[in-house]
Assembly symmetry: C2
Amino acid sequence: MPNSNTTHEVLTAVFQVRHFPDHITAGQGGDARHAGELAVLLWQRALDPQAGAWSLPGGLLREDEDLTTSARRQLAEKVDVQEVSHLEQLSVFSDPHRVPGPRTIASTFLGLVPLPADPQLPPDTAWHPVSALPEMAFDHGTVVRHARTRLAAKLSYTNIAFGLAPGEFSMSTLREIYCAALGYQVDATNLQRVLGRRGVLTPTGNTAPSGRAGGRPAALYRFTDSTLRVTDEFAALRPPS
Amino acid sequence: MPNSNTTHEVLTAVFQVRHFPDHITAGQGGDARHAGELAVLLWQRALDPQAGAWSLPGGLLREDEDLTTSARRQLAEKVDVQEVSHLEQLSVFSDPHRVPGPRTIASTFLGLVPLPADPQLPPDTAWHPVSALPEMAFDHGTVVRHARTRLAAKLSYTNIAFGLAPGEFSMSTLREIYCAALGYQVDATNLQRVLGRRGVLTPTGNTAPSGRAGGRPAALYRFTDSTLRVTDEFAALRPPS
């Protein structure tokens, strides 16, 4: 058989928007505050190859499971999988020499954990800001960047932010999530206008207490759907109803 | 090793908009005409398992090649790969029992062939309308439907139609391509307005001779880009320029 010496592994880039106390960013209104950052779940290798480098959660595919089952099983060793709100397949990494030893093909996944979950982590595991990754094992840094690019693209044409957001949120919180996931500033008014026009958000009728600065209580929203959908089927391409 | 008995294959759903002489559709203006249909490239199995059923082009991944190299090599046995204008990875099909015999994981690809290419085909190979697939081997029918769904979704938020269109085309031809790929009617005026606003199309300055019905010569266009890009980065999410 041409590829019987090949093994198959599954790797998942799990993202959450988190606050890192040592990363201070200038917030709106000029006051320094802890802005949310996109973080990825990594574990540190104790043994060679590449002892000390950081890896994505994952492992070898078992004979009796499909890829999604495998990804969920392996994540369960790191975090409570109830807290993974979205999981989708990314590319396969198949360079014959991507890891030392027997050829290993990696099927990769993107996983999202919503605010404000704070999963218990094993001692070898930690969240790292995607903007400041530690020394990464093998091609795992490339997988993280690929996953982040996919997430950013999908923020523009799907409702994927449901996977990062709390069940109920203000536009200010949602804006912080978009800014963190995209890595640049977006305008809350534009965001609300576009997502509103596309029916992505539904007002819950509740309000949040006003912040330190006072002002009106903020209206709260939820995502209309909690599974992925393309939100930009532009009029010309909509099927006849 | 947990999965050393697993082999890895690559399958590609190659699509082209084609005219099937025995499929007559009522065209614009009420005259019956041959409307373009989305077609997929299949070969008929001569041997068991499933002799007589139709398969996607593909085969086992070799030890020294990555997935994309493998997909292109295998397509070359069926069509001149110069004619494949776009190739992208789709999902991995990993059900442990998806084919009889040793476990085989399938990485799947979407390939597009532009109009008016008419590749020479081997005797066991033919184009079939996606709307009327013959008896399909294993899970290959599912792969075709998955590829078509991906193509239809990407038509709404990317410039992927460049992969199906000729180098220069009228809006009427482009509309026919969209209708065929989506499987329902779209309006040429809306299509031109939306694609124009997004900068997807560039006028070439040429015109096509007017058709049987006379009238003004049609303006011709080309796709501005010939590699895939997301065309709907809505204003709120655009990075600062």
